[in-house]
C-alpha cells in the first residue's frame, strides 16, 4: 500500500500510509481506537462506505499489479478474505453450510435440467470434504456438522476463518480483532493456525489490541496513530512497551499537562464508593470494578473499546443490569432503577446521544427541561391545589435560553427540534439537560464522540467550569486519553472489565498506555 489517504467529509483520518507485506508473512496492525486501522482495512477490502464517502487516494499493489476494488466482490476475486469483528454467520445452518454458503458444489437433477441451474441439488459429500479441508488447513478441531447457534463463541470465529480459507484463490487474509471474543486457549489455537496459514503461503494482516499476540505470531509490526503509520518494524526487534509507547505517545514531549490540575488531596471525602460492580452491557461488560470517587474532583475513566469503561456509568445509573454495591453520600443506591439514581441527585449524559440522550423529534426546550420536570417537579405550575401539574412553558423557555446562551448552542430558537442540530450542539443540549437537574454528581460518557475539535474544547470547558464553579463531582468516561489528561484530576484505566489502575492525570501517557493493555481479554 502506498500513499493511502482518506478523509471523511474533510476530516482527515488517514494520511500517507505506506507499507508492504510479503507472501506468507504475518503483519500485525495495532493502534488506539480511531487510529484508522479499520478504515484502512475497509479501503483494502473495497467496502461500500469508502466509495460512498468520496473514495480514497493512493494506490494498492497486489503482486506488483495496481488494484482498485469497488466492491468487496472484487476484493474476494483478487484473493483477499476478511474476517470482521462481528460474526456474519447464519445461526441455523451447520458449520459446513456456512463455510460454503453460495459457493456450494452442485449436482444436476431432473428438475434443474428443465428449469435451469438455480434448482441444482447441493453435493453434500463434496461440501463435507471441502469444509473438512478448510478446517484442516486451519489446524483446529471443530465439528463441521454442528449448527452455528449451538457453538461456543470461539468455534464461530473459527468457522468464519475456515470460510475464508475454503476459497481456493485466497492470498491475503485480514483478521479484525479475531481474538477479542476468544478465551486464552482458543486464542492460542488461533495463533497456531495463523502460523500454519503463513507456512502455506497465505499472507495475514492481524489486527488486535493484545500486543503479546502480535509479538508471538507476526513477522512485522505496523503501529498506527491518528491516521499515520508511526512505526513499521520487524516483530523481533520490538517489545510490548515499545509498541505501547508508539500507540499512545502522541507528542510525548509537548503534551500539555492538565492546565489547572487540582492538588492531589487524598483526604477529600469519598462521595461515591463503588464496590464489586458487575454490569451486563453487551460489548462493554464490567466484571469487577471497585472505585472511590472523591468529592469535587473530575475523575476520568479511560481504556480501550470493549473493556467495560462504558458499562460503569450505564450500570450505576440502572440502564443495564448490574450487581454489586454503590454508595453515594453514605447511602446505598439501589441498582437497576434509573429513577432512584436520579432522585439521589445523580445525573448521566449518555454516550448514545441519538438513542438515549435526546428526544430528536421534540423541541430543545423539552429536551433540556424534561428530566428536571419529571424528577424534581421543576417547571410545573400546580393548579387546583396541586391536583394538576401544569407545564410551565415560560419557565421552560427561560431555562433553555439560559443554557443556550451559556453553552453557546447554535440554534434558530429554543423551539427548534433537537434532530436539526449538529452533533456538537446536540451534545451541549445533553449537557444542558444534565445541568438543569442541578445534580451533585455527574457521569459524562464519551462527551466528545463524533464532534469536531472546536466543539470539543467548548464541551470540555463547560464541564470543567461546571465542576469548578458548582462544586459538582464529575466522572468523565472517554476513549481519548489526551482529552482525559487535559480535563481530569485523576484517571482510572479499565481493562478487561476491571480497574487496571488509578493515576493522577499528570502521569505520562506511556504509563496509561501500559495499563490499558494490561488485562485485555
Amino acid at each position: 500500500m502506498r500513499g493511502i489517504k482518506k478523509d471523511f467529509f474533510g476530516n482527515q483520518v488517514l494520511t500517507d500510509i505506506n507499507f508492504t507485506l510479503g507472501a506468507g508473512q504475518v503483519l500485525g496492525l495495532c493502534g488506539e481506537n480511531g487510529a484508522g486501522k479499520s478504515t484502512l482495512m475497509k479501503i483494502l477490502f473495497g467496502m461500500d462506505v469508502i466509495r460512498e464517502t468520496g473514495g480514497y487516494s493512493g494506490d494498492i499493489f497486489i503482486n506488483g499489479e495496481k488494484a482498485a476494488f469497488n466492491t468487496p466482490f472484487d476484493a474476494l476475486a483478487a484473493g483477499i478474505g476478511m474476517v470482521h469483528q462481528e460474526f456474519s454467520l447464519i445461526p441455523g445452518f451447520t458449520a459446513t453450510e456456512n463455510i460454503l454458503l453460495n459457493r456450494e458444489p452442485q449436482k444436476k437433477n431432473v428438475i434443474s435440467e428443465v428449469f435451469g441451474e438455480r434448482l441444482n441439488t447441493l453435493d453434500y459429500k463434496e461440501m463435507d470434504r471441502r469444509a473438512a479441508a478448510a478446517i484442516e488447513k486451519m489446524g483446529v478441531e471443530i465439528d463441521a456438522k454442528m449448527v452455528i447457534s449451538s457453538m461456543p463463541v470461539g468455534h464461530k470465529q473459527f468457522t468464519e476463518i475456515a470460510r475464508e480459507l475454503s476459497k481456493d484463490q485466497l492470498k491475503l487474509l485480514i483478521l479484525d480483532e479475531p481474538t477479542a471474543v476468544l478465551t486464552e486457549k482458543e486464542a492460542e489455537a488461533l495463533l497456531d493456525s495463523i502460523r500454519g496459514m503463513a507456512a502455506r503461503g497465505i499472507s495475514v494482516i492481524f489486527i488486535t489490541h493484545r500486543l503479546h499476540e502480535i509479538l508471538a505470531v507476526c513477522d512485522q509490526v505496523v503501529v498506527m496513530r491518528d491516521g499515520h503509520v508511526v512505526r513499521d518494524v520487524p516483530a523481533g526487534q520490538t517489545s510490548v512497551d515499545d509498541i505501547t509507547r508508539w500507540m499512545v505517545g502522541r507528542d510525548v514531549q509537548t503534551s500539555a499537562a492538565p492546565t489547572e490540575a487540582k492538588e492531589e488531596n487524598a483526604s477529600a471525602n469519598v462521595v461515591m464508593s463503588i464496590k464489586h460492580l458487575w454490569v451486563d452491557m453487551p460489548g462493554e461488560t464490567v466484571r469487577d470494578v471497585s472505585l472511590d470517587v472523591r468529592e469535587g474532583e473530575i475523575l476520568g475513566i479511560g481504556g480501550l473499546a470493549g473493556q467495560g469503561k462504558l458499562g460503569i456509568p450505564n450500570g450505576v445509573m440502572g440502564l443495564y443490569e448490574a450487581g454489586g454495591t454503590v454508595e453515594f453520600d453514605g447511602r446505598e443506591i439501589p441498582l437497576n432503577s434509573p429513577r432512584k439514581c436520579l432522585d439521589a441527585s445523580l445525573a448521566f449524559v449518555s454516550e448514545d446521544r441519538r438513542e438515549v440522550g435526546l428526544l430528536l423529534d421534540e423541541s430543545l426546550e423539552w429536551n433540556v427541561a424534561f428530566p428536571a420536570m419529571q424528577i424534581q417537579n421543576k417547571f410545573l405550575k400546580n393548579l387546583l391545589g396541586g391536583l394538576v401539574k401544569w407545564r410551565d412553558e415560560k419557565a421552560i423557555h427561560k431555562v433553555t435560553q439560559k443554557y443556550v446562551d451559556q453553552l453557546q448552542i447554535k440554534c434558530t430558537s429554543t423551539a427548534q427540534k433537537a434532530k436539526e442540530l449538529s452533533g456538537g450542539n446536540q451534545q451541549k443540549i445533553c449537557l444542558a439537560k444534565a445541568f438543569a437537574l442541578e445534580p451533585k454528581f455527574l457521569f459524562v460518557s464519551e462527551p466528545t464522540r463524533g464532534i469536531d475539535v472546536g466543539a470539543k474544547a467548548l464541551v470540555l470547558n463547560a464541564l470543567r467550569q461546571f465542576n469548578r464553579e458548582s462544586g459538582v463531582t464529575v466522572v468523565m468516561i472517554s476513549s481519548e486519553l489526551e482529552e482525559l489528561r487535559q480535563t481530569c484530576d485523576r484517571i482510572a484505566i479499565i481493562s478487561g472489565g476491571r480497574v487496571a489502575g488509578i493515576r493522577p492525570a499528570t502521569d505520562s501517557s506511556e504509563e496509561f498506555g501500559a495499563l490499558m493493555v494490561s488485562q485485555v481479554i
Binding site: 434509573p338 429513577r339 435526546l358 421534540e362 423539552w366 424534561f370 401544569w390
Partner: protein, 356 residues
Amino acid sequence: MDKAERQNWFSQLINTYGLPRLIITGFLLFLFIMAPITGSDLPTQFTNVFNRFSWNAVLVLAMVPMIHSGCGLNFGIPLGVLAGLLGGTLAIEMGFTGPMSFVVAILMATPFAILFGGGYGALLNRIKGGEMMVATYVGFSAVSFMCIMWLMIPYKNPSIVMAYTGVGLRNVFALDKFYANVLSDFLKIDLNPIGINLVIPTGSLLFIALLAVGIWAFFHTKTGTAMTAVGSNPAFARASGINVDRVRMLSVILSTWLGAVGVLVYQQGFGFAQLYTAPYNLTMPAVAAILIGGASVNKASIGNVIIGTILFQGLVTMTPTVITALIHTDVSEVIRIIVSNGMVVYALTRKTEGAK
C-alpha cells in the same frame, strides 16, 4: 409570483399540509360545489356532515393517547367499544331511561374500560414494536368472544333481549326510550322553522369539545408530557427515570375509555345500539380519519382529530348524494373503502412523517 416561486409555495404547502390531505380537501370542496348543481340541498348536506362528525369524533379522539405514547394506531379500539356496549346495555338492564341512562352507561363502562385497557396494555408492553398488528387481532378476537357473551349474559329487559326466546341480546335495538339524542338535543339549533334545512347538534359538539379540551390539557401536565416523551424516545424516557411500561399502560387505558365513551356518543346520535360484529366496522373509519387529519403513527394532535373527522365524514356523507347523482351508479361505498383503507396503507408506509 413567478413560476419558481409558485412551485416553491406549492411544495411548501404539500410539506406542511400533506399531499393526501390536500387531495381529500380538494375533493370535498369539489363535492360541496357540485352539490347544488346536482340538485341536492346544501344545508341538508351540512346537517349530515355535522351529525356524522358529532357521532364519530370521540372515537377518533380515542386514537390520540396511544399514538402519543408510541403504541401506534389503536386498531384495538373494538375493546373500548365493547366496554361501552357493556356499559350501555347494563344501564338499560338496570332500568335507567332518558339522559340518566347515558350518565350511568358511561359510569358502568368505566370499570370495564379500565379492566380491558389494563389487560390490553399489559399485552402491548410485551410486544413492543408490533403493537398495531397484535392490536388488530386483539380487536377481532375480543369482538368474537363478546358475540358469545351477548347470548350468555342473562339480560332480562324486554326492550333489548331477543323477541321470541327472551334469551340473549338483539342484534340492533332502538334507543329512543334511553339515551338517543340526549346530547344532540341539548341546545339544538334548528333552522327548519325559517325554511333552512340546517340542524346543529350543539350538545354533542359541546361534549366533544369538553373531551378534546380535557385531552389537550392532559398533554400539558407532567404525566401527559411523560407520555409524549415515551412515544418520542422510550430509551430517553427510561434514562429520565420514567416507568415506560406504566405510562404506556395508562395511555392504553385512556384510549380504551375514550373508545367506550365514543361508542356511546355514536349510539346516542345514531339512535340505535348495534351489537355482535358491529364493533368491527368502527375501527377503520376512526383510524383513517385521524390519518387524513394529518397525524402519523407516532404524532397526533387534537387538530388532527377535528380536521380528520370532518374531512372523512364529509366524504362519506357527500359522495352518495353527489356522485350518485352525477354518474347514476352507487359508488359511495367503494369510494369510502378506497379512501379509508388507502389512507391507512399510506400512513403505515411513511412511519415517521406527520403534518402539523
